[in-house]
Structures are given as structure tokens and as C-alpha cells.
């Protein structure tokens, strides 16, 4: 019996999906911007993982005699500070490399945690329907009524600044897109013949959710996660820039930009270079997400 059921449950799905997947992955590999984005993301991961090996100096080591030194190409030829030094004489390059850790940690963990939260809410809403659905989607509407950065500012102001609090706040406030996507997938396949067939065969609804709905929703969810990660990395930098994110003792790109603002007139490199790093990473992730999205969207691929 089980083999009959298996073939009845997935008519054509097994035949079609490898072809679809192969086409998508071919389209993705041909997309140069997406590959470049992947390379940038890989560089970020490597920087974050091997920061102590890559950084020429200790990022917190101060040297007040060597304050506000310009980058190598802009001033006196000094080998010590390739990208210049800040107002406390700390090495900018080392701080940038260590700053990658904060960005990656916040982006990855908050995007993942909010993803699970969103999938839980979206799954419950789509699966149970009725009142639960209305309540969860109502909560989503309420959440969206607050500008996310303002919500994060207020929440961090209440919980107090700190890396963990930033991650908690971001995870709790960015679940809506995941929930909506998963809910929409559930609603769209609920009436499909193969789902009705497996229901008629006595498959329980949880199993249908697991076997038929999730696989279809996984790639859109990953696409959302990639865009969310880019947004969250920017938001963390914005919070730190406003002085309520990661504490000043930890080198982060947002903190560096805030510190450098005071010295805009004489030391342009302090605020601009961390911004370029941030932009490169966000750009890379966005290109990657874009590539993924167009790879799975046959309309855009053709």
C-alpha cells in the first residue's frame, strides 16, 4: 500500500521538480551580479570568522600619538595604518574587519530567528484558519503600522542597548513577511488536486503541510530571508549610528560612522569607509536575493 499512496500523493511533482530546480540553478549561475553578490557575502563570512588572523592590529588598541592618520594612499606613507586611524588612534582596517562580525551575527541570527517565528505564525494562520488566522494577521497589520526602525529604537530604549537585545528586538519585529508568504502558500495549495487526493487517502494535515506545502515555500522564504538580512544589517548599523545599538566598546560599522561624524571636516575616511563596507555587503546580499528570485520566477527568467 505505501508505494501506491506515495505515487498518488505526488503526481508529477517528483518528475517535474528536478527539472525545475536544474533550470533555476542554471539561471542562477548565469547571473553575474548574483555570483558577485555571493562572493561579497563569502568575503564577509571569512572576515568575520578569521578576524583575529586577518586584522593587522588589535581593534581596540589606542595610540593617542597616532590619532586621525589618513589612509595609506591619501597621506604620508605609513605602513601601520592602511586605512587610517580614528580619533583614539585605533586602526581603521582592523576595526572594519572586526565590525564584520557584528553585522554578520546580527543579520544572520535575526533573519533566521524571525524566519522561524514567521513560519510558526504563518503556518498556524494558514493551517488552523478561522479565528486564529484573523488574530495572527491582525497582529501582522498592527506590527506593520509601526515604522520598524522606530519600533526597534523604542524596544532597545526599554530593554537597554546591547548586542543580544538588538538581535531579540529585530527577531521579534521582522517576522511578518515570512508569515504572510507561508500562509499564502498554504492557502494556494489547499485546494490543489494532489492535496485533496492525499487528504482523501487519509494523510493527516500536518504531514501534508510538511510534505507538500513547505517544499514549495522554501525558496521564496529563503529569498525573503536574504532581503531581510540586508535590511537588518542596515538597521543594526542605523541603531548603532544613533547610539542605541551595539555598545561603543564593540567595533561595529554603525558605531564607527557615528564616531567619525565629529571629524567629517578633517578625517573623511572615518565615516565614509565603514559606510562603503556596509553598502558593499548589503548590495551583495541584495544581488544574491535578486538572482535567487529571478531564478525561481519563470516569468522573469524567460
Amino acid at each position: 500500500m505505501p508505494d501506491i499512496r506515495a505515487s498518488a500523493v505526488a503526481p508529477g511533482a517528483g518528475r517535474e521538480s528536478p527539472g525545475r530546480l536544474a533550470k533555476a540553478s542554471r539561471a542562477f549561475r548565469r547571473n553575474k551580479a548574483a555570483s558577485a553578490g555571493g562572493a561579497i557575502l563569502l568575503a564577509l563570512v571569512l572576515c568575520a570568522l578569521f578576524a583575529p588572523l586577518l586584522a593587522p592590529c588589535d581593534p581596540s588598541e589606542q595610540n593617542l600619538y597616532e590619532r586621525l592618520k589618513p589612509p595609506l594612499w591619501a597621506g604620508e606613507a605609513r605602513k601601520t595604518y592602511i586605512l587610517g586611524s580614528d580619533h583614539l588612534g585605533r586602526d581603521q582596517l582592523s576595526r572594519l574587519i572586526f565590525g564584520a562580525r557584528v553585522s554578520l551575527l546580527v543579520g544572520l541570527s535575526a533573519a533566521t530567528l524571525s524566519g522561524f517565528l514567521g513560519m510558526l505564525f504563518g503556518g498556524l494562520a494558514g493551517y488552523l484558519g478561522g479565528r486564529t488566522d484573523e488574530a495572527i494577521m491582525g497582529l501582522a497589520d498592527i506590527q506593520l503600522a509601526f515604522p520598524s526602525i522606530l519600533l526597534a529604537l523604542v524596544a532597545v530604549a526599554i530593554l537597554g542597548p546591547g548586542l543580544l537585545n538588538v538581535i531579540i528586538v529585530f527577531s521579534a519585529t521582522s517576522w511578518v513577511p515570512y508569515a504572510r508568504t507561508l500562509r499564502a502558500s498554504i492557502l494556494s495549495v489547499r485546494e490543489q488536486p494532489y492535496v485533496l487526493a492525499s487528504q482523501a487517502l487519509g494523510c493527516n494535515r500536518l504531514k501534508i503541510l510538511w510534505a507538500h506545502v513547505l517544499p514549495n515555500a522554501v525558496i521564496p522564504l529563503i529569498v525573503i530571508a536574504s532581503f531581510q538580512m540586508a535590511t537588518l544589517i542596515t538597521q543594526e548599523a542605523a541603531l548603532s549610528f544613533l547610539g542605541v545599538g551595539v555598545p561603543p566598546s564593540i567595533p561595529s560599522w554603525g558605531n564607527m560612522m557615528a564616531d567619525g561624524r565629529e571629524y567629517l571636516q578633517g578625517a573623511w575616511w572615518l565615516s565614509t569607509l565603514p559606510g562603503i563596507a556596509l553598502m558593499a555587503v548589503v548590495l551583495g546580499i541584495n544581488f544574491l536575493g535578486d538572482g535567487l528570485r529571478s531564478a525561481i520566477d519563470p516569468l522573469m527568467r524567460s
Partner: protein
């Protein structure tokens, strides 16, 4: 038909607003410690605290307290700012025009740039222009706005001395913050315009219009664009939140005296009544704008009205 739909939409907006007030009400109460102490200036005497606690009903059950808070909101009582020692509503209304001015200019700028750029890109699909457009739009979406603000100040104010670094009052002071705030939503809007136009241009009625021998300009503007406008306006309505959130940052970078700087200042000073007030105003603006957008559709699109 239309009346019932209208009523349902109104009820939903009211429910969302009620939800936001519950969340805002709860924020101060989840902080460990005495909310009366938190909401009063640090130099308040024990008597002041006691009197305030009684007036706010902090000893009463939570649902009663919420009722009192809601009743206050209905008559425009958003509490008193601890720092300015003035009613929150007054402070917020004072700063609101500046934020509306900035967000309005950014929205207009975004529509003027993004919609034509997106249309051309859709018509010339896969051309060099289209590719450059797509690249630029991802680029514009990725630039952190506070960094863009800093770089523009560095170039146009510090280096070239063309434009002032901060403040409000003259048109020249509006240019840099306006552009900084418009960049992100322009990119979003342009990409959306492109994809909506692509979809509409594939429709049968566009083919029919072409088959009738209409000029391409007329096909694009009168037949295609008209139908692509609905999703574009919806997204613009939803972007009010992004605009308000973005203005928190842009206002801080350019010292623009709006709601954003008021909120950030309130957060620095732990001025809880003022924090609650600014967040509430932002949420109300979002809900009301989206309600208006939906009502406009209901009027414009017969499919929604009778569907």
C-alpha cells in the same frame, strides 16, 4: 455593496489602531520598576509620584488603566513630556509640519523620478538602459540612508559649500535631506513600476490597442499605465511607514526639526510619555494613509467595489 465593504475596512482600521494603542500602552509597563517613577522627571518628590500614581491609576487593575489611557487619547491627552514639561500633543503637532514637508517632498521626488524611469525600462526590456536601470535600482536600495546623508554633506556642504549642512526654513536646506529620504523609495517604486508595466503590457487589451493601430505612446500611457497605477499607489501608501522610519534617521543626520528628531531625543532622555506620543502619531499616520489609499481605490476600481 460598497457600503458594507467600506464599513469592514473602517472597522479593520479601528481595530489596528486599538492594537497599536495596546502595544504602546504596554511598552512602559513591561519595563521593570515603577511606571510612575519612570514617567516623571528624576527630581519629582515622593508626593508628586504618589499624586501622579493616583491620577494615572497605577494601583488599579491593568484593564482599567488602559481604559483611562484610551479615554485620555480620545480627548487628545497624550500625557506630558518629562523633559519639556508640556503636553505631548502640543510638542508633536509643533513638529509634525516639518516631517510632513520632508516626507512629502521625498515622495513627490520619488514618484517623479521612479515612475518614468520604470516605464521606459519596461518598454525597453533587456536593453542596455534596462540593465543599467536594474543595477542602479538595486544600488539605490542598498545605500544606507544615513551614510548617503553623510557623504552628501561631505561633498556638497563641506567640500563644495553649495548647500547647508542642516536646519530647516529655506528651500536649499530641503534639498539634501529630501534626496536622502527619496533614494530608497525611488528604487523600490521604480522596480515596481517596471514589473507592473511588464505585466500589463502582456495583456490582451494592450495587444488589441496596438492592433487597432494606436500610437505606441497612447498605448503605453492610456491603456497600460492607467492599469499599472493601482499597485503603484498601494505600495506608495505602504511606504509611508518607510518614509517615517527613514525620516527618523535623515532628520537626525541633517538636524531637521521634525517628529524623528523629537522621537530620538525622547529616547535619549527616556522621556516615556513623549516616546509613546511620537510612536502613536507615526502609527496613526500609517493607518490613516492606508485607509485613504484603499478608499480611493474603492472609488476608482469597480472590480473592487462590486467584487
Amino acid at each position: 455593496m460598497s457600503g458594507r465593504l467600506l464599513l469592514r475596512r473602517l472597522i479593520r482600521s479601528v481595530l489596528v489602531l486599538l492594537g497599536t494603542t495596546i502595544i504602546i500602552f504596554a511598552t512602559v509597563r513591561v519595563i521593570p520598576g515603577d511606571p510612575a517613577r519612570l514617567m516623571l522627571p528624576a527630581d519629582a518628590t515622593a508626593e508628586d509620584v504618589e499624586r501622579f500614581r493616583e491620577r494615572m491609576g497605577f494601583d488599579e487593575p491593568v484593564y482599567r488603566q488602559y481604559g483611562t489611557y484610551l479615554k485620555g487619547l480620545l480627548v487628545g491627552d497624550l500625557g506630558r513630556s518629562m523633559r519639556y514639561r508640556r503636553p505631548v500633543l502640543e510638542l508633536v503637532l509643533e513638529r509634525l509640519p516639518a516631517t510632513i514637508e520632508l516626507a512629502g517632498v521625498a515622495a513627490i521626488l520619488a514618484v517623479l523620478v521612479a515612475v518614468p524611469a520604470g516605464i521606459v525600462s519596461a518598454i525597453k526590456r533587456d536593453s542596455l538602459y534596462d540593465n543599467a536601470f536594474m543595477f542602479l535600482s538595486v544600488f539605490a536600495q542598498s545605500v544606507p540612508i544615513f551614510w548617503l546623508g553623510i557623504v552628501m554633506i561631505l561633498v556638497f556642504s563641506v567640500q563644495l559649500h553649495w548647500l547647508p549642512t542642516s536646519g530647516r526654513g529655506t528651500l536649499r536646506q530641503l534639498i539634501l535631506p529630501g534626496i536622502a529620504l527619496a533614494t530608497y523609495i525611488s528604487a523600490l517604486l521604480a522596480r515596481l513600476t517596471r514589473s507592473c508595466m511588464l505585466e500589463v503590457l502582456m495583456q490582451d487589451y494592450v495587444r488589441t490597442a496596438r492592433a487597432k493601430g494606436l500610437r505606441e505612446l497612447s498605448v503605453t500611457c492610456r491603456h497600460a499605465l492607467k492599469n499599472a497605477v493601482v499597485p503603484i499607489v498601494t505600495v506608495l501608501g505602504l511606504q509611508i511607514g518607510t518614509l517615517l522610519g527613514g525620516s527618523v534617521i535623515v532628520e537626525t543626520v541633517f538636524a531637521w526639526p521634525g517628529i524623528g528628531t523629537l522621537a530620538v531625543g525622547a529616547i535619549y532622555n527616556r522621556d516615556y510619555p513623549l516616546i509613546q506620543g511620537t510612536v502613536l502619531i507615526a502609527a496613526v499616520m500609517f493607518v490613516v494613509t492606508n485607509l485613504v489609499v484603499d478608499l480611493v481605490y474603492l472609488y476608482l476600481d469597480p472590480r473592487i467595489r462590486y467584487g
